[in-house]
Amino acid sequence: MAEHDRLADEPAQRLALRAQRLDGALEALRGASRVTHGAKVPRALDAARQILAEEGGLELLHERIAALVEAGIFRGSDWDEPDRLVPALARQALTSPDSATVVIEVLSELRFLAIAEGSYTQRPLTPAAAHSHLVRVVALNLSILFGIAGEAERQQGERLAAIARRSLCFIVDRLGFEQVIDELIAEIWRILEQRPIRVEPVREMITQIARCLQDPAIDLGGSGRGAERLVSSLYGPTRACSEDPGVAGYAERLAAMDAVTLQGEVLGLARSMHDTGLVSPYHAVAVRHLLDSNQGTLLPDVLGLSSTGRDCLLCYQGLVHALVEAAIHPQSCQALYGLALMLERGILYQPPVAPALWRQLRLVLAPAARERLLQTYGDTPAPEQQLLAGVLAVLGQPLGIGQGNNPTCQSARALSMWSYAEPDYLLQMVAWAARDDAIIMHFEGDAISSRDGGLPRPPLLGFDLDPVSLLVVPHLDHIYAQMMQRCVGRAEDPHRWVNPEFHGWWAGRGFRINVDVATGKLAALEDFLRHFFACYHPYYNGNQPLIHPQPAGIAVTDSAARFIGWHAITILRVALDQAEEMRVYFFNPNNDGGQDWGDGVVVSTAGHGERYGESSLPFAEFASRLYIFHFDPLEPGAPETVEESVVAGCAERVRGSWAADRIPELAAQAVPPP
């Protein structure tokens, strides 16, 4: 290249020239009306691309990120609302051959960085949430960071790949590399402790770490403690596969083992599975080996079953063998964990469950359902087998269901509740959705079909959903919307009627809400709280543990205790923890139950007596974020015994957090309590 005949030779001079172009582009963008705004964004993105290609370019854009955002560089794009962005999608953008896509993603990460560092604010995203987002983005893209992306890079072109790589390096430098890796490992453990069904993002992060650990050219420094155990749980859980010999090689080794070695081997696999909740593909190989070589007696060992699970397995051996045969493959190995936990739950003893599973084994999928499974998970194993694996996971881990990146918390909550309390009903729903591509539910005596209403079912983002959710949630969501529609015009909150009809007979017909639907202001708060304590708190309800899971509504707040939105959860249990503190244990269909709701209210997911998948809060703290609950009107507890000080303390937390701007006028407050 003939460098000398260029006018801008010096790097600094080039950068200044490009910065000037960016200024011009941003000025044009700011000057554009709504008519041409979208058409003027590409020029600004291209100017940013030129800067990113230069030494010092990232620093320059990082400094000017506020100006870029305010000129509207994200407006009208998927990147406009940072709190809605998913770390798992960053990779696709960063490896895109389209420079505008790469650049807008990089700019978006720089915006996250500025928010995390506190130099820029964009509500409702908190610095902590921005930080956590970045850590995950880095984690999911370690291969880009270390330049071991290979093929993708070739397709993308060297220059764009360099931009993606350098931007991640920049972010890591700012956050601190060792801190990122350590945080990432802690994060993975924290997620695993909640035992989600969908572990693909975790698997991907671990795989990325594994590649870094293996590459002698990469020095993780002092960081990465605890990574080995995660990596081995996927790639080498036992001695016989510790060096990741490949599925075929491992099968040969298993075939050559004597009885004692084999038993030791399968126990090792089970230990690793129950330790992390992650299943190695080798585990599936071992299970299939046992069945193929007539050593089914080792099944309880390879599943790591207790006496309960072992007993259940022995009673339903034919069914379990058929389930393993159909559902457990190296690609769907994770379903083994669901199978083991399903057996442990003893739900096969409920008469309808085993025959319903036999139906599931032979279920013929509707073409639409088949297509949806194929599109999301590919064709190996077959869609029927994927779905069966998904059913096992849902039955074994009712609290591992997540809504993914979809606004469908009610439907995810319903699925979880059914698996938890009425698994045969859940299996019925799956059969309807998968076989008939239609579900019918009833509302106040009228049948409502998921095909009614003439509205198209909203598209679902499937990449982070389990197979059952993928098929059933669109139907449920549509039915739920129709039920809500039928309540339009009623004077009260529609959840009063919809929740019991939608979730099941056990959802209490009694209903309390502490927000006035018409004005959005707080209403009868103290009375609401007193009633909640009396219904749910064992000290005030005659020491009655909660019987059925109950739907409830939460006002979610950010870490500064500001209102974010309404959210559907399930109250599962109320019990004392090891420190003798009364806690509410609940299910949050949001993918991550552990959240900081501000004002000291930090949702715990482990360490306070939680079972896998449960979230928990001390009773009063939970009550301070509650806005809807259901109860049985015939079992009202003893509201008069609830101390005023307890109610007052709780009410203060409500008014100080999500309801800060919902406090009614004095006149309205003067209404005497009923």
């Binding site: 290249m1 260029r6 006018l7 801008a8 030779d9 080039r14 020239l17 172009r21 011009g24 582009a25 554009a32 009306s33 709504r34 008519v35 041409t36 058409a39 590409p42 020029r43 291209d46 100017a47 030129q50 305010e70 509207g72 051959p97 389209d98 420079s99 397709q155 072109g157 220059r159």
Partner: protein, 417 residues
């Protein structure tokens, strides 16, 4: 974030001024109208409806096919709405504007005038009748006509057998700019013309320097006259022109005045092309009654700072006053703050996988921005006629000669690799 530009603001509209209909879809034209002081409505095919709704743009659906019995319907609709004048944004809407304005302004003559401006063969005859110097031209209905014309032109030029032919140019009667434009040198090349392109207009090749003019006409007089300099036809253009071309400004102005007289133009906008030979003789190529391609309006705004679309609205609006027009336009050439040009990119390789700006372009201080998009297909279709470019690259700088050479140099670069 507060955004006061999200909706149209009727308070901007001056009730004393005209109500404008824009015929065709051009975002920059809409933006200009939106930020101007007159009421407007966009008349465009129904695919534009969603965008208009989402962006709060006044809109009337109309599919501009050939003129037909329903043509009077759109004119009547616009008249009922109180629209004063229709402005064509594209070649295909010129005759519609003529038909509509004939009704709106009650001047039936405007329709015939538009038809003249739409048909290149009629246009040349009219020019010839008006005493404007044109080349030899003829209509061709099949390939034999083309071969005969090629031979006759070269006979006229006293070429002997075996001498290289002077080329002839083939153009569609009614397409804009370079669309359908072919250069034919030998009878063999005639076979490459698809049958469906006929009939076409054939012209002798005019040796000389080709350039374009943009003239805003108000009340039969030139309100602003720009000369656009082509570096290579179909590739690049810049404004204002170099002093080498600007030296002909007075003669060019006379030519435009002749054009106004010949075509009986009272208002609006003319975009003719001329050739000037080394002895200063002007040959008329063709004229269009709509904004030029290659984003010349945008280049003019970059160079002078005035919005050429708003100028267009003024030139068409029957309610615009002479004072308003005089105040709006800058003084030609001397008021230009810079020279602005653009280059149309055609991929040079047969197989391309991505867009990569050449460093020689990107590091040049004159380079400003580009509108290139990533390739949709890997294989590049071979260019038969002067095809459509893949996007424009914009430059600006103080030295017109440097700018010209830079634009020329772009032809040797690969933007798609």
């Amino acid at each position: 974030m507060p955004d006061d530009k999200k909706t149209a603001n009727p308070e901007n509209y001056d009730p004393e001024k005209g109500y404008i209909a824009l015929l065709g879809w051009s975002l920059n034209a809409i933006e200009a109208a939106d930020q101007f002081d007159r009421r407007y409505v966009v008349v465009a095919p129904d695919w534009a409806e969603e965008y208009c709704q989402n962006h709060d743009i006044p809109y009337l659906p109309w599919n501009f096919e050939r003129l037909n019995d329903r043509s009077v319907e759109i004119a009547q609709t616009l008249k009922d709405m109180g629209v004063d004048v229709a402005i064509p944004l594209f070649e295909e809407t010129v005759e519609w504007a003529g038909a509509i304005n004939a009704v709106l302004l009650d001047k039936p003559r405007l329709f015939g005038q538009a038809m003249l401006l739409r048909d290149k063969a009629l246009m040349k005859r009219r020019a010839q009748l008006g005493g404007i110097r044109v080349g030899i031209f003829e209509e061709a209905h099949d390939k034999d006509d083309v071969i005969r014309f090629l031979k006759r032109v070269n006979q006229t030029l006293l070429k002997l057998d075996g001498d290289p032919n002077d080329p002839i140019h083939l153009k569609a009667f009614d397409k804009a700019g370079c669309l359908g434009h072919r250069v034919i040198r030998t009878p063999d090349e005639v076979d490459t013309i698809p049958e469906e392109e006929f009939p076409v207009l054939m012209e002798s090749h005019l040796d000389g320097w080709e350039f374009a003019v943009e003239a805003w006409i108000h009340d039969g007089k030139i309100a602003f006259l720009n000369i656009s300099e082509y570096v290579t036809l179909g590739y690049s253009v810049f404004v204002p022109a170099t002093p080498d071309l600007e030296q002909y400004r007075d003669q060019i102005r006379q030519q435009i005045e002749l054009l106004i007289k010949t075509f009986d133009i009272d208002f609006g906008f003319l975009h003719p092309e001329y050739f000037v030979t080394s002895d200063g003789t002007m040959y008329f190529g063709e004229v269009a009654y709509r904004p030029p391609g290659f984003k010349v309006f945008e280049l003019l705004e970059r160079a002078y700072g005035f919005n050429a679309y708003q100028g267009l609205i003024l030139a068409f609006d029957p309610k615009a006053t002479a004072e308003e027009v005089a105040a709006f336009f800058p003084k030609e050439v001397v008021d230009a703050k810079t020279y602005a040009g653009c280059f149309g990119v055609y991929p040079r390789r047969r197989v391309v996988s991505r867009l990569e700006m050449p460093p020689e372009t990107e590091d040049h201080p004159y380079f400003e921005s580009h509108e290139l998009t990533p390739p949709l297909e890997e294989t590049v279709t071979k260019r038969t006629a002067f095809g459509t470019h893949w996007g424009l690259v914009y430059f600006q700088g103080e030295d017109p000669y440097k700018l010209r050479d830079l634009l020329k140099a772009q032809e040797e670069m690969d933007f798609y690799v």
